[in-house]
Symmetry: C2
Subunit: 378 residues, 2 copies
């Protein structure tokens, strides 16, 4: 082989101590030599998705962060408010690798996986905030010729989530969708998918700037929750689209209840007779994120035919089975530079990812500000 197989690399670790302290560090870990059907990927891009932040930061209060260690291998500590520790019992004192997905170059390959050597691939499955990752060749998605690691770094979580929402809609008998925090990277993808598939999508945003982002990419229904006409606008959009399924990234506050109430009003507006328990149309909202960690408040002014629940990509993919999941993955690969293109505002090294100011910035989860960790950057 032309280059030595790396045997050691840095890996970002999140450790929540029973004492109530979060510790982020860069551990020197062995890189397992690839088995016959495995490859070693030098990771060059791994996005910080909202779905990574829970594991990375836990319920720590980042304003209390202190940095020790060295410039190359900093150690960040922050305190965790005691009331949140109980729910974390299962991970206490367990040093955990982080990073759902990423992409990079195959720098070593087992006998059966030689075809991938030197190729740029995307991977899913954890521990991607690391310099190297040994994975099964079958778990790699070979990126189309001319695709960079940065372009392919986000080809699982957001694209499959957007496709999963539309697929959930079809499988549960709904015909249109509502999405909150709709101007996010994911939200923009969802708009492109819905436009391509002819699915009506009601986008709920929280500012006129966010509305403008969506208008530019062709979104037909955009409702601003900060507008005094929010309820009327939302109801009108629901009447127009017939949407009875919402995906919510915010979680906290009254928004989910407001959406269900507006769905109920929309359903009753077209109902032929009074139903004593409200409309018989089933109204569903799935909470898949927690941008607002405050409690969810439901006023229950929406009859008895409703559901609210958690929604997560991995259980969804398991539920639909490997064949259906593979179909979704193939679509992502085919449309990686169009429908599923991601844009990053900042590329940071592993050490920079542990900088308190940078953490505070990506932890804001601001629309249009997406971070990519490049573990090969120094």
């Amino acid at each position: 082989m032309s280059q030595p197989i790396p045997t050691v690399g840095l890996q970002l670790r999140s450790l929540l101590k029973a004492s109530g302290e979060l510790e982020l560090s860069l551990a020197k870990v062995d890189v397992p030599a690839p088995g016959p059907d495995e490859v070693v990927v030098r990771i060059e891009g791994a996005p910080i998705n909202p779905s990574d932040l829970g594991l990375l930061l836990g319920p720590a209060d980042i304003s209390t962060a202190k940095v020790g260690g060295t410039a190359e291998r900093p150690v960040l500590t922050a305190s965790v408010p005691p009331q949140y520790l109980k729910a974390m019992t299962a991970r206490l004192d367990d040093s955990l690798p982080v990073g759902n997905e990423g992409a990079g170059v195959v720098v070593a390959a087992g006998a059966e996986a030689q075809a991938l050597l030197g190729q740029t691939v995307a991977i899913l499955g954890g521990a991607t905030y690391a310099q190297y990752r040994t994975v099964k060749a079958a778990d790699c998605l070979r990126l189309p010729e001319g695709t960079t690691a940065a372009e392919g770094a986000s080809c699982f979580v957001n694209p499959l989530t957007a496709l999963g929402m539309v697929e959930t809609m079809r499988r549960e008998g709904h015909t249109a969708l509502v999405h909150t925090a709709a101007a996010s990277n994911l939200g923009q993808m969802l708009n492109k998918v819905c436009l391509a598939d002819g699915v009506a999508l009601v986008n709920i945003v929280r500012s006129s700037e966010q509305a403008a982002i969506l208008r530019e990419i062709g979104a037909a229904y955009i409702v601003d929750s900060t507008s005094p006409n929010f309820t009327e606008d939302l109801t009108a959009a629901l009447v127009a689209t017939g949407a009875t399924l919402a995906f919510d990234a915010i979680g906290g506050g009254r928004l989910v209840g407001q959406i269900l109430t507006a769905m109920e009003v929309a359903a009753n507006r077209t109902a032929k007779s009074f139903s004593r328990y409200g409309s018989t149309v089933h109204k569903q909202a799935y909470i898949y994120g927690g941008l607002d960690t405050a409690p969810t408040t439901l006023n229950r002014g929406f009859g008895m035919s409703w559901g609210v629940g958690g929604w997560l990509l991995t259980p969804f993919l398991m539920k639909i089975g490997p064949e259906a999941a593979q179909k979704l993955r193939e679509r992502v690969a085919a449309e990686l530079k169009t429908t599923f293109a991601s844009h990053y505002s900042y590329e940071v090294s592993l050490a920079e990812a542990l900088n308190p100011e940078i953490i505070a910035a990506y932890n804001r989860r601001a629309t249009g500000e997406k971070y990519l960790i490049n573990p090969s950057k120094h």
Copy 2:
């Protein structure tokens, strides 16, 4: 025929006016002559279930009630806070009959239904707060010899709801149950069903008096939500039973979220490894009542595998299909004087049911205080 077929009778009506006023009255309505396959039932007992109160009183403020009309045919009016009117659009200015179920004596029968003449039967399907009701013979449940109308008046809603909860548990893959407001008539029935079927049931009550009621009928798991040890007691009961499904009659406040959180803690206590999005065990709560009309507040400290939704008997029966529903009904008839026995604290006439003090009493939905309307009482 030995007695004349009644042609006119009193029927309780609930009218919600667009002006924001609720009007309850006793309308003189024609009693339709029975068709060949129909019977006329003289109703002698119709329970006031929590599920009747929504249609009967709507969101009216009963403390504003005024009574007009005559002693025999009073008319009650009360005002409705304007913010609740929007959700009521579909019923505004529509005078509606009330009463889900009841029982009485067949006083007239069509040619094909003569076998029922003189029999005591139970009926489901609305408008039972009335002196007479013409229904299909096939929709009558003939009560066993020696059963009074009062004994048979509640043989649909509560018994089928209790059976429906256990059936839902089995169909959705859970193995034990949690129930709130657990000392209610329905809650006591559910305990009897669960004891008979060997299903573990965690009863959540709000006082030591309610706990005593359940202890007396053999309930094994009783948790008092007013106790300082509520969380620990509930978690221990969930660990012991493995219950991951709750039916909640209260709706408002933090209780549903507390139950889901305790289920999550119980699931993690037995989990083998940390799952970043919380336990993968699906935790479900169905809200089937609204004893507390305040908003439902969910703190979402229970991972991502959860659902909360409305649960209603009629859609449930439609979902399981006529054969499965018939099986449940047959069990009710067979166990009407044992498992499914109901007890009433007060029997009132139609006119008394419109008395503001009596309304205030049954609208409190106090445990152990159940009202039966006897439309044949003067």
